[in-house]
Symmetry: C2
Subunit: 446 residues, 2 copies
């Protein structure tokens, strides 16, 4: 919808017809808001919907909901569309096609994975289903499979609703995009709100009742009774449609595009969770399903579709989340990713306070920096703390973007006042420690 | 004290004797914490003191309080020291001298300016005096002269203490480091906590009672009864001692140093509020009295005094403050400063929300960017908003530091999650608007 709106701003209805096909019931909504709708922080579903179909009609954008694109015919320049309400199929022709099929939740191929009461969290309809189940069936026990951002946010939402909540994850830590030492802080936070966290335990199956609804989640170690299960195993680019048409995908499974969001197929564009993009630190391709990237890419595609010029440069892997009072942020490469990208890296973690130590409300935050040995180039950062901690990652993302070294960063002129930071901001303290570590490391080598 | 500590870390007591002279009663404290001590958020004075004289003695740093340096004899390599308790004067010899005389509050040369009950806010003793006056004399009405950061923070502190508080400022806005449109938002905030704000009214004098204590503040327009007056007119580098010795000061009045914090006099170093430094955007000298710069410079001087190598690169003019719930931040050049530095600039201001619009607690924040015409280079930024608004300036300060253009900034990978930002962070929205404005401006010209 970002692309459609941008293209419309540049080309009037007499110059460009815009048809949008959406298989679900909603378009232009915040999927990131689903946990807040489930938890009740957001009372009305409408609040998650940025624009209604009627608003798009007013802009001469022909948005059709419950209309699924089921085949792309590149040679014929047409798309086969299936009506979800049994209205049959038809072909729609295009001059330019944009693929924005998003991502699909990873589902384990395990017995019972499709049972009633096992929910994915991807499209708005999923959120509606979970909340309806909570309100109608009054479940008592929920199990979340997967301890990533979405899994943790959904776990917190269900704790708010009064459920007993467990999380199982095959990994030894929640939030595998963090290093283990930082992930341990998240494990503490999630246990702190009363969630049972079972790490290092992959799911082996789901038990079901006679009526086909889920009753328990089985791991190697235990059977967890469950009235409701949420799958938070992450997502993968939804590219079946594109691949079937012969549109090229890359090593991440996402559609390959150039910086203007053109695929390798003529007059076919793509944007959002279904594409892969360039990681500006590793230089390699990544598929990161985040609304902020999708919106930017959509805007870029729309500008280009409308005859303008715009590019999407890539990402540095920034992500933030909140578990109750605990804020968590990461950007760039973690230790594992840095090694995989061929960097010889070191890291430091420092504890400091979010405000001047004497200021009421000052809390502890942990800042970790990963830097390249010898050059001292910043490669990544992770932050776990309370108020005002997570968004400190923005500065680190911008430092990464500009290829700064940790030594250079020690001089940065960051905001200082007692309610916001100690006289040495945690970012500056961490940069100093990292610069010292780089220097000490070089001394050892020489 | 930062310099002394750093030098000691690099040179043991057998290699380097370190003598520190302090004319007041306290060393190594947070002057920025004074308003919070006055307002009672910080109950104990001790909390503002980072290290006691005894702790410095333990590190073999000979800290002498109530010992005032009254003359520097560069040729003789010595300093004349006066004992505040009448113990007379003596000369102390040095191999290396560091001048860290800080800043002094600007005092108006007006009748009654030295009356009892008229307080500056610079050293910790000032804070002690104001709080003692509040607790002992139970004043009812306070007038703050000057609407800068310190003035506003002191006004809020006294509102918390239950006083009727007025602020008078000769300028047409509070916080003159902001542009007038952003200053107006601060005026609203300060009035919102019940402070009477009289702008465009310079003080013409102070009325005093027979016992010499202040009774009112007079402006051209009115007489404001006052039991207590706080001067918040800003500070200037305290360089009388240095200048009398022939140590060079610059156009700002601050001592001139190189990046290693060496003055133009042989073996004399300087750091903190008494020096001027380079503004990395304007390229010109500035004297900005902020604890964060002073600490960094002190550290750099100490590393160099201890035989190491470190430099202070300069500043971009970042400052943050909080008035009740309203956070305010600025960095770089404001419109007036950009023009004075010879830039042809344009600016945009955007209103957006601090969180996703549907997330409970989302509030409005205003982000203003100043960019150079044609090149689109970011020159400065200002933010006024509530929770999580002010520290967004760090990213902007780092963008300035790296000479980014507003166009480049539109692609930045900033942290996004509903509790922290809309899907387009306010900084990204502002960058987009600024980039559009730069482009539109070029079109108009061509």
């Amino acid at each position: 919808m970002s692309a459609a709106s941008q293209a419309r701003r540049r080309r009037g209805p007499d110059e460009l017809e815009i048809l949008v096909l959406e298989r679900g019931n909603y378009a232009s909504y915040s999927a990131c808001g689903i946990p807040y709708y489930v938890g009740g922080d957001v009372e009305e579903l409408d609040k998650l919907i940025a624009r209604t179909p009627a608003e798009f009609q007013d802009r001469d954008i022909d948005l059709r909901i419950r209309a699924e694109a089921v085949e792309i015919d590149l040679d014929g320049g047409r798309v086969r569309v299936r009506d979800a309400d049994g209205g049959g199929e038809r072909w729609e022709h295009y001059d330019d096609l944009m693929v924005a099929t998003g991502a699909v939740p990873k589902r384990p191929r395990l017995p019972g994975a499709d049972a009633k009461g096992v929910h994915g969290v991807q499209i708005l309809d999923d959120g509606v289903a979970v909340r309806r189940a909570l309100e109608r069936d009054e479940p008592r026990r929920a199990v979340v499979v997967g301890g990533g951002y979405i899994g943790l946010e959904m776990a917190e939402a269900m704790v708010k609703r009064g459920l007993e909540v467990s999380i199982v994850d095959a990994a030894d830590q929640p939030m595998s995009t963090l290093d283990p030492d930082m992930g341990a802080l998240i494990a503490d936070a999630i246990r702190g709100i009363g969630v049972d966290l079972h790490l290092g335990e992959g799911v082996e199956g789901f038990d079901t009742a006679a009526d086909g609804s889920v009753t328990a989640v089985r791991t190697a170690g235990r059977t967890l009774p469950a009235d409701l299960v949420v799958l938070g195993l992450g997502v993968r680019p939804n590219t079946e449609l594109a691949r079937a048409a012969g549109i090229e995908t890359g090593p991440t499974g996402g559609i390959v595009t150039d910086r203007r969001m053109r695929t390798r197929a003529d007059r076919v564009w793509a944007a959002g969770d279904c594409v892969e993009t360039r990681h500006l630190v590793s230089g390699g391709p990544v598929a990161i399903a985040l609304g902020t990237h999708a919106n930017k890419q959509g805007r870029v595609a729309g500008v280009n579709l409308g005859g303008g010029y715009a590019t999407f440069p890539g990402v540095v892997g920034t992500a933030v989340s909140k578990i109750c009072r605990v804020e968590v942020a990461r950007t760039g490469l973690n230790e594992r990713e840095a090694a995989a990208a061929g960097f010889d890296a070191l890291s430091v973690a420092v504890e400091s306070t979010t405000r001047a130590g004497y200021h009421p409300g000052a809390t502890v935050m942990t800042t970790k920096l990963i830097a390249e040995r010898r050059s001292g180039r910043l490669l990544g950062a992770q932050i776990v703390g309370e108020e005002n901690a997570a968004k400190r990652v923005d500065g680190l993302a911008i430092a990464l973007w500009n290829g700064m070294t940790v030594e250079e960063m020690t001089g940065l002129d960051l905001g200082y006042a007692p309610p916001f930071a100690p006289v040495w901001d945690p970012v500056l303290i961490a940069a100093r420690k990292a610069a010292d570590a780089v220097e000490a490391d070089m001394r050892r080598e020489n």
